[in-house]
Symmetry: C2
Subunit: 251 residues, 2 copies
């Protein structure tokens, strides 16, 4: 361990540990992806190009603070020494002596670990090779993303993004949508709209094929009541009908 702490510890979020990352760009992209979903505790183990890494800062724009506070370690056991539960991400799960989880299941398990007061680490391997069998020996469970068997390679930043996204799905506030969609029009307002439309159409001779009139009327009424029209839509359509009548028949 080369700094005085294991990195930022505040909060109760998992630590993301990049094990022997190669490209600074991927370290920076990982920092961005973490911060996109509110995660800020990063640790790096033996990065190929040393530490701090200028290329990581170039890519991390807006999330450079995570790099400032990242813990830097010589070895994986040192990096996770204070953690009670360790999840290892792998592209092709080889070590089947441990539980294998999807990112969604892992996020749920991590959430439960943290609720129970345990500190959690998630491990991400180097770009080319992924975590070794030895790296995985420190892990409590294995995480793998379900991918196309013909094309399963996710890069480091993408793997971090998917784990962070699943964490965010659990912990971030929901999308702000309640009560913001215009409410749907009541049957009364839809019926009034339909009545006005039907009246216009009667005048214009739309229903003049008398034998088909009942089915034409039913079709129109079903069409109007099937659409999820809002009150605003109903007002718009009243205006549209008035305006169509004003336009008169085409010359």
């Amino acid at each position: 361990m080369q700094d005085s702490s294991h990195g930022a510890q505040e909060g109760s979020d998992p630590v993301f540990v990049l094990v022997r990352p190669q490209l600074g760009e991927n370290i920076g992209a990982s920092a961005r992806a973490m911060w996109n979903f509110g995660l800020e505790r990063m640790r790096v183990v033996d990065p190929r190009d040393g530490w701090p890494n200028p290329a990581a800062y170039s890519m991390a724009t807006g999330a450079g603070r995570l790099l400032d506070h990242a813990g830097h370690f010589e070895s994986l056991p040192e990096a996770v020494s204070d953690c009670a539960r360790v999840y290892a991400t792998t592209a092709r799960p080889r070590d089947l002596t441990k539980e294998l989880l999807t990112p969604e299941e892992a996020a749920a398990a991590i959430d439960a670990d943290i609720q129970a007061g345990n500190r959690v680490a998630v491990l991400f391997g180097p770009e080319r090779t992924g975590l070794t069998t030895e790296d995985v020996t420190v892990a409590s469970a294995i995480v793998s993303v379900k991918t196309n068997p013909e094309f399963s390679s996710l890069n480091l930043g993408q793997c971090v993004l998917l784990m962070a996204y699943e964490w965010g799905r659990r912990r971030l506030d929901p999308l702000p949508r309640k009560g913001e969609l215009s409410p749907l029009a009541t049957v009364e307002h839809v019926e009034r709209l339909h009545g006005i439309l039907a009246g216009h159409l009667e005048e214009s001779g739309y229903f003049s094929a008398r034998d088909r009139e009942p089915s034409m009327r039913a079709n129109l009424r079903n069409l109007v009541s099937r659409l999820p029209l809002t009150e605003a839509d109903v007002r718009t359509l009243h205006g549209v009908f008035v305006s169509l009548r004003k336009a008169g028949p085409k010359a």
Copy 2:
């Protein structure tokens, strides 16, 4: 529309439409992300640097076929002219006159649309600005990723990755894990292990503090039965205990 078709049409997967993408690298990363999750139908609308784009091919390594078959269009309405349902991804949902979905909800809705025989498009906006209000007018619903409000910018490739990942969660085969974890040891085998261990410990005087013996025995038995030991673990521990006895007391 500039080619003879709307791109590869086989199968029943959504079409991902990149609207006015700027960087070829992001187009290539989008192709990779799609193919990672088994999606192969891409369309591009008015890409800034023309089409085909060499930088897209450089980045797409392994997924270049998607670019070969991608449809190339002058305008968004042309690109989605054959689609019945259109989902628009946006970073900050402004147009709240349409249903707002998470990527997971959108994947479920798209799956239902496709099961009902409808062709579906998912729109992704340009890097800098995202989809315009006008682009969104062709959409049936809006998709937004729940992100950290302090740092919500996802790049084009990341947005495509998350939508493709959610599609893969529904459609790809599950992780191959059934029956592959070694089964847990039966109570009979765990009890036998515990009995042998307790026997060794009796001989070694571990329980010699007579007033604490009952609680020490209970602790040990609880410890052994709480661990999720497999049959293989039990065999390993039998060997470990034998070997510890052979080692004898430390000099």
